[in-house]
């Protein structure tokens, strides 16, 4: 179907293609990405997979081409304090400005592979078309890395396309913190691609904090592939951006591979958080544990689609899915869509999805202790998020995540005493 936005995207691409960096291979990759997107078409609200995304926010993006000039970024926003024990990399507007680049150079063809995106991840092709830089990290042994993706608030409208390709070698133990912060001066797009490969018995604890300003439209596309007995834990806290869409796919390809996904999204004002997660069990004895807690306040919308597919190659698979939504605003919206697709007999699957308003009994208990109503409501929202927050096992980061979550909840005084 014809889409004026897609026309603009492709025109912007043709306009800038010659200036984008890279060798023949990477040019060919860009052309292929543009062809894929052109073929799949721009997402539409009529498509179930994109129904809850704020596609109109993408219509308002003035320019899809990245800024390829070398004008230095204006003063950066205040960056969070460094976390002890973590090596820090800083990307500003999609480009690496500080920290090493891993074991590979930016555009060498070797190293971790780029992903093939599913239709519900099709905006991943957008980043593959325009990205000017990529962090390609191949890690053996132990590592703790923090990557900051900073929106600098530069004056010229433009999109940023950070890209991270991570491979964890067999038996490696990796902690990766990924933070998105900063505000744009006008509506701007950050479209990020992230590919993760976990080799046999690799362990990756991946923490994601998204706190962009409200002018940012954030498109986040993630693909992870797990080998035998690899363990991948994602702890994600989304409180920022005017509109955010996460399209994630995790393939449990090796026997005994496991995923633990814990996510929080808190919306206020007109914010939209839309998360789509597809987990594919492709090998025996694979396991998924999925936990999502979403709060929609005021006029915001929070959506989570959790599709777990267990195919015939995955006997002995186990899944547990717990999705909960809390509606606070009169015109707020929560959409939780659990979906289990089971193609083998030998499976243990538990799932639960509930959406509701604050529990009146809990509220009355706090009021009966003299706590004022706005504070009581905020405390209960805090409590609602707490089981997901406590999964963040880096104490300094957990404190940051709690501060961010509390920042979305007014009237929680003296947070330090809460946790």
């Amino acid at each position: 179907m014809h889409s004026p936005v897609l026309d603009r995207v492709l025109a912007d691409y043709r306009g800038i293609a010659a200036q984008l960096p890279g060798d023949e291979d990477s040019r060919a990759e860009r052309v292929r990405a543009a062809a894929h997107l052109g073929e799949l078409g721009w997402p539409s609200a009529r498509d179930e997979q994109w129904r809850y995304t704020n596609l109109r926010a993408l219509d308002r993006i003035g320019a899809f081409a990245p800024d390829t000039t070398t004008v230095p970024a204006p003063a950066l926003p205040e960056l969070p304090p460094a976390l002890p024990g973590f090596e820090r990399l800083i990307y500003v507007d999609g480009r690496l400005v500080s920290g090493r680049h891993g074991s590979q150079t930016a555009d060498s063809g070797s190293g971790p592979k780029a992903a093939e995106w599913l239709p519900e991840q099709r905006l991943g092709w957008l980043c593959d078309m325009f990205a000017t830089d990529a962090a390609r990290l191949t890690i053996a042994g132990e590592a703790a890395i923090e990557i900051l993706f900073v929106n600098s608030g530069r004056a010229s409208p433009g999109a940023a396309y950070p890209r991270l390709q991570l491979r964890c070698e067999p038996g490696s133990q990796v902690r990766l913190i990924e933070r998105h912060l900063g505000a744009a001066a006008s509506a701007s797009l950050v479209a990020m691609n992230l590919t993760v490969e976990l080799a046999r018995e690799a362990v990756l604890n991946h923490y994601r904090l998204q706190q962009y300003g409200r002018d940012t439209v954030f498109i986040d596309t993630l693909s992870a592939q797990l080998g035998e007995r690899a363990r991948y834990a994602v702890r994600s806290v989304a409180v920022g951006a005017g509109s955010a869409r996460t399209s994630a796919r995790v393939q449990l390809a090796g026997r005994g591979a496991s995923l633990a996904w814990g996510g929080i999204a808190v919306g206020r004002g007109e914010q939209v958080h839309d998360i789509s997660l597809k987990v594919e069990h492709e090998a025996p004895e694979t396991a998924t544990e999925e936990l999502f807690r979403g709060i929609a306040d005021e006029r915001s919308r929070v959506a989570f689609s959790g599709h777990i597919r267990i195919d015939g190659r995955a006997p002995g698979a186990q899944t547990r899915q717990s999705l909960r939504g809390l509606i606070e605003g009169a015109s707020a919206e929560i959409d939780l869509r659990p979906r289990l697709e089971i193609l083998t007999d030998d499976v243990r699957a538990q799932h639960g999805a509930t959406t509701g308003r604050l529990d009146e009994d809990l509220l009355f208990y706090l009021l009966a202790r003299g706590i004022d109503r706005p504070t009581a409501r905020s405390l209960l929202k805090w409590a609602f998020l707490s089981d997901a927050l406590r999964e963040i096992d880096v104490p300094a980061l957990r404190a940051e995540a709690e501060r961010l979550a509390a920042g979305q909840l007014p009237d929680v005084p003296d947070l330090g005493a809460l946790a």
Partner: protein, 272 residues
């Protein structure tokens, strides 16, 4: 561990001594919940320094009375009045009633994981102190206060850092209710079946805590099904609620008579 007090040395002889202005005055109160009229004309006067026990069979309206006085949503006043220190209690929001000095000890305290006990206690205490025109306690003063109360209630201090009632046994929840009451020092404590589900040792601890709050400036209303609690917290007045109104009032011997004759005796009279 301190020795819990025995019934013999907790008795406080105040039966007819009180002459102060009423703290709580309930007049001909009618209320319904879920479309059903449960209170059908309750009248009750409680003065500072007094301990009242409200007894009655299941479904007689005991808990409803406690909830109506504390302002629980869903309980609709049909007619009648209730005043607290001369203020119209029923026009106040639940949090205003609490800050004015009314405390409800819940029959089924809720669990709030993620909000720790210390936080709740401190927030509640400082809300009450602000209301009384007192300054808020700092962390050190607060901890010193709470420590003395946790010891009295045989509660381990580590519990302060746990979520409110999270994973607590029934008995621990009830002790926590009494701990909150001791920290908040309300003028009027309404304890809704605080004895239910307690073994005898826990019952003594709870009674000990409640007795420590007895003073000439305060009143306590115990809602209970069983006489047993009254061996440890000796009331000045006993009222029997049946079919939505107070069918009979007396001193503590009424509770003993009920124990002997059962609620059918009163219920039969109330129906007549």
């Amino acid at each position: 561990m301190s020795e819990a007090q025995s019934p013999a040395n907790t008795a406080t002889p105040t039966a007819t001594a009180a002459v102060g202005a009423p703290l709580l005055e309930v007049r001909d109160l009618h209320a319904r919940v879920g479309g059903q009229t449960v209170l059908k004309g309750v009248s009750l006067t409680v003065r500072a320094g007094e301990v009242h026990a409200i007894m009655g069979p299941n479904g007689s309206g005991k808990s409803t009375l406690a909830y109506v006085l504390a302002g629980r949503p869903g309980y609709e006043i049909i007619s009648g009045s209730a005043s607290f220190e001369g203020r119209d209690l029923l026009s106040l929001a639940p949090e205003e009633r609490a800050r004015a000095g009314l405390f409800l000890g819940f029959q089924y305290p809720v669990e709030i994981p993620g909000v720790n006990n210390a936080y709740l206690l401190k927030a509640a205490l400082n809300a009450a102190r602000r209301e009384r025109g007192q300054s808020e306690l700092d962390a050190f003063e607060f901890l010193a206060l709470v420590r003395s109360k946790t010891q009295l209630m045989h509660i381990d201090e580590s519990f302060l850092g746990r979520g409110v009632n999270e994973g607590f046994s029934g008995g621990e929840k009830k002790r926590n209710e009494v701990l909150q009451m001791l920290v908040l020092e309300p003028k009027l404590a309404l304890l809704d079946e605080t004895d239910s589900g307690l073994d005898i040792d826990a019952l003594k601890v709870v009674a000990n805590g409640v007795n420590s709050l007895r003073s000439a400036a305060r009143a306590i209303v115990l809602v209970t099904h069983y006489q047993r609690l009254l061996d440890y917290i000796v009331p000045d007045f006993v009222h029997v609620l049946a079919r939505g109104r107070i069918a009979r009032s007396g001193d503590r011997t009424l509770a003993l008579e009920l124990e002997r004759r059962g609620y059918d005796w009163i219920d039969g009279q109330a129906a007549a």
